[in-house]
Amino acid sequence: MRELNLTREDLEIREVLAEASRALATLDATRLEELAMACQALNRVGETHAGTDADPLNRRNDRKLARQAREAVGDMRAFGRVLDATRANLSVMRRLRQIRAGHIEYSEAQARGWASSEPGYGDN
């Protein structure tokens, strides 16, 4: 597992989104879960002192986060489109899973082979 390296100081939302798009492209579920957890943690930090925190450091971090969120609009849109494309690919992938499970015949020859092997000698 790669290190997330998403500390409060060097966090860049754009990097998270770009990494998420890459992980989705390679269907890397583990990496996506890591990133989702990182985003949840980020949300918790934001909610903890949203608007009311008097600590100048936290206020500065909030402003930084808000700026990063604005800058990441394009990357969010790209991630959304990757998500759409993935959804569209899912039906093909489901079909593949069935093929691997042997539920769909590849060819007429194979179908004939299966058909001829059904009833007959040794069948009980």
């Binding site: 798009s21 849109r77 790209a78 990757v82 494309a85 690919n89 093909v92 007429e108 020859a109």
Partner: protein, 470 residues
């Protein structure tokens, strides 16, 4: 009822089948690194059982050849996404070049389109300076100099855009020969497949056909339809046939209004090709939509500024006292189209700048004030010149961003599908090792049975013979 000779026959077939299966595995391993090779699986088929006295007896196995492990739905989806990725990739490359043209060239004295905004400000500000001292010659020279910088940057931008459009036209034209070469090869392969393997997957020939289709998908948008006898028809996304019944139809080009158009069977399909996908789709979208849009906006800007400035100059009084006839500062375009490319300063004598109002003395500055105010007036399609230019750059940036997003998504989709395709069709050496071990054991078992049958047969033949030991 089985006989020993029947058992011999069954085991001989089993050895043959296992041998053939091992050959399939060997071929897979040998082609593990061959681009486009689809892994094959041996087909075993139980022989028709014998019916003797109402009882069915098994009659062994036959290896009926190998089947390539592929899924046409996946391949077709992959080709479609490849078309989109190639199209947006080509369009993005072209748009990035256009966008680079409009990037401000800070600190450099070279003329670039990115400086047009500051050029506009500088030009209208030069009239503000002239207001203070309308008869000053160096200030008048400054007006012409800033006008010249503006005109030069605008016309250079238009020239660069036209040059990029020509380059894209050549790129698009170059795709034609590749497309024709591929459709010809696909048609030939189709004929071979239909004649040699009309009822089953055609293995290597099918791999070659898929590879050609994949390459074709990167070049243009296509649809493929499976026909009888394992053949395919390939059409453009708008339905013009490229390959049908083993025959290919040439994509031809011709020049229409100065740019390359594309034809199939005499029909002009350029517009359809632009929206169809593939590299050609990307080139044509950039050539026929994106660049003309930017060029059109630039033409509008140049036309409005030139027309308004010239009209105002001709309405005032110049330093020589010409009233209402001072002449044009910029070349006056006859129409909007081409205004940017033809923008230039035609006034050579700064004394002809009409700083004074109509009927006023040469010391008057009211017309210079009006000219300076043009910079903030809504003279270009309801916007000020600088706002109009800022919107042009902003819209270009939005277009680039959208195409970038589409390209990212399409590439991600291709990666997903390619991974799935490889998992299904590429040779997996672990699987092959496992299959080889299975067939090897099966072969050994058959061989063992064969040996036992041989011993049994020898015993049967010796039955009734006198033994040497009594």
């Amino acid at each position: 009822m089985g006989t020993i000779s029947a058992a011999f026959s069954i085991m001989t077939q089993a050895l043959d089948a296992d041998q053939a299966a091992l050959n399939v595995v060997a071929n897979n391993v040998a082609n593990a690194n061959t681009p486009g090779y689809t892994t094959e699986a041996p087909n075993f088929q139980q022989n028709q059982p014998l019916e003797i006295g109402g009882t069915s007896y098994g009659d062994g196995v036959t290896e009926t050849g190998a089947t390539s492990v592929r899924d046409r739905v996946l391949t077709e989806r992959l080709n479609q996404q490849q078309q989109l990725a190639s199209s947006t990739g080509a369009q993005l490359t072209a748009l990035n070049t256009v966008q680079a043209l409009f990037t401000p060239d800070s600190g450099s004295s070279s003329a670039t389109a990115g400086d047009i905004s500051s050029d506009l400000t500088g030009f209208f500000n030069s009239f503000s300076s002239l207001e203070a001292n309308p008869a000053n010659n160096s200030l008048r020279e400054e007006v012409l100099s800033s006008a010249s910088t503006l005109a030069s940057d605008v016309s250079n931008a238009a020239a660069s855009l036209n040059s990029q459009r020509s380059a894209l036209d050549q790129e698009a034209s170059g795709v034609t020969s590749q497309v024709n070469s591929l459709t010809g090869a696909i048609a030939q392969l189709d004929q071979q497949i239909q004649s040699t393997s009309p009822d089953a997957d055609a293995g290597t020939l099918e791999d070659q056909r898929q590879q050609d289709l994949s390459q074709l998908s990167q070049l243009i948008g296509i649809n493929q339809i499976t026909t009888e006898n394992n053949g395919i028809s390939v059409t453009t996304t708008s339905g013009q046939p490229l390959v049908s019944e083993g025959q290919s139809f040439q994509l031809t080009t011709g020049t229409v209004n100065g740019v390359t158009h594309f034809f199939v069977g005499g029909a002009d399909i350029t517009a359809q090709m632009a929206s169809g996908g593939g590299q050609l789709g990307g080139y044509l979208t950039a050539r026929d939509q994106d660049i003309p849009n930017v060029l059109g906006s630039l033409d509008q800007l140049a036309n409005s500024v030139s027309t308004q400035v010239n009209a105002l100059n001709n309405a005032g009084t110049d330093l020589a006292g010409d009233n209402g006839n001072a002449g044009d500062i910029f070349f006056q375009p006859a129409q909007v189209a081409g205004s940017a490319a033809s923008m230039r300063v035609v006034m050579t004598d700064p004394n002809h700048i009409a700083a004074a109002g109509a009927g006023q003395g040469t010391g008057d500055n009211s017309n210079a004030t009006a000219m300076a105010a043009l910079g903030n007036q809504m003279i270009v399609n309801g916007q000020s010149p600088t706002d109009y230019f800022a919107n042009l750059v902003s819209q270009l940036g939005a277009t680039v961003s959208n195409v970038q997003t589409e390209n990212t998504a399409a590439n991600a989709s291709v990666t997903q599908l390619q991974t799935q395709s490889n998992a299904l069709s590429a040779v997996n050496l672990n699987d092959e090792a496992s299959a080889m071990s299975t067939f090897e054991r099966s072969y050994q078992a058959a061989s063992q049975v064969f040996t036992m049958l041989n011993t049994l047969m020898a015993s049967v033949l010796n039955l009734g013979e006198q033994s040497t030991v009594s």
